[in-house]
């Protein structure tokens, strides 16, 4: 079962507080949606007004990138490892503050540095290697191999004025 821990600064209004969420998940694809739900909700903490096209785009990019990161750990980092070799787990830590989200994924599988992989050759309609490109396109990425391996994804959210947000719906 995944475990969850959530900390936020007392007394600070939502999106002003620095929040920290930690999930300990099994390194299996079935736990991916748990991670993505947490990440999706955490995106709301970067701004007092989580709505509008810019925020939807921010959330979509963060969730898409983390989903690919989770896939890579399960499908590549833990590929072929016998179940008895524990821990096949993923430690997910989400830190938010106003205008910023930072997500750390720790795993104990084979090292796999996404920052060293070249982009796919799009002209050939590749069927693989696309996830890394999605990650790198949507978020800033850093990687450190070790026990555990640490993949850090971060992204800034630039708030728009309420007037600008209202204008998004105008024809």
């Amino acid at each position: 079962m995944p475990t969850l821990r959530y900390d936020a600064e007392d007394g600070a209004p939502a999106a002003e507080a620095a929040a920290s969420i930690r999930l300990q998940l099994a390194g299996i694809l079935e736990h991916r949606n748990v991670a993505l739900r947490a990440v999706s909700m955490a995106c709301k903490l970067v701004t007092p007004g989580p709505q509008g096209r810019a925020w939807n785009n921010f959330q979509m990019q963060v969730v898409s990138a983390v989903g690919e990161a989770f896939n890579n750990i399960v499908l590549h980092g833990y590929a072929g490892r016998p179940a008895r070799e524990q821990p096949n787990s993923i430690d997910l830590r989400i830190q938010t503050r106003r205008g910023h989200i930072r997500i750390e994924l720790r795993d104990w599988g084979s090292e796999f540095d996404p920052t060293r992989i070249p982009p796919p050759a799009f002209d050939t309609l590749p069927e693989s290697g696309l996830g890394l490109f999605i990650m790198q396109s949507f978020m800033e990425i850093a990687y450190r191999s070790g026990r555990p391996n640490l993949l850090t994804l971060s992204k800034r959210y630039v708030e728009r004025s309420s007037a600008a947000r209202k204008g998004e719906g105008a024809v």
Binding site: N57, M60, E68, N71, L75, S128, L130, G131
Partner: protein, 116 residues
């Protein structure tokens, strides 16, 4: 994820709803395999109710596209919106794989799956 495959008057319709990702794509692959082996002339893929796709899902769709084309058939992908459309554009698949209707702004409501 839910999907439906129907064949009528030379066109094979494939509609995919929900989330097509590394988990759900394994449910779809055996049926895609059967679809390709049937050597369809035209495959129309309706993604108007697809909420989210990841690289595994994209890989399955690209594979379908390439294999049907290699057999002399054609694949038309329609109805993309929101996250799936953003992913197609990011991966530059919109230039190759998308039907004309998808490159315009998609409608905000669910489209009908039956077009004939």
């Amino acid at each position: 994820m839910r999907f439906e495959i129907k064949s009528a008057t030379g066109v094979t319709h494939l509609a995919i709803e929900g989330e097509l990702d590394a988990v759900s794509v394994s449910e779809l692959r055996p049926d895609l395999e059967k679809l390709v082996k049937g050597k369809p002339t035209v495959v129309e893929v309706d993604l108007s109710s697809l909420r989210m796709v990841d690289s595994s899902g994209i890989g399955a769709l690209v594979s379908l596209y390439k294999r049907v084309r290699a057999q002399g058939g054609s694949v038309v992908i329609k109805g993309l919106r929101d996250q799936p459309l953003a992913i197609f554009r990011l991966l530059r698949l919109d230039r190759v794989m998308l039907g004309a209707d998808t490159t315009r702004s998609p409608p905000p409501h669910k489209q009908s799956k039956s077009r004939h």
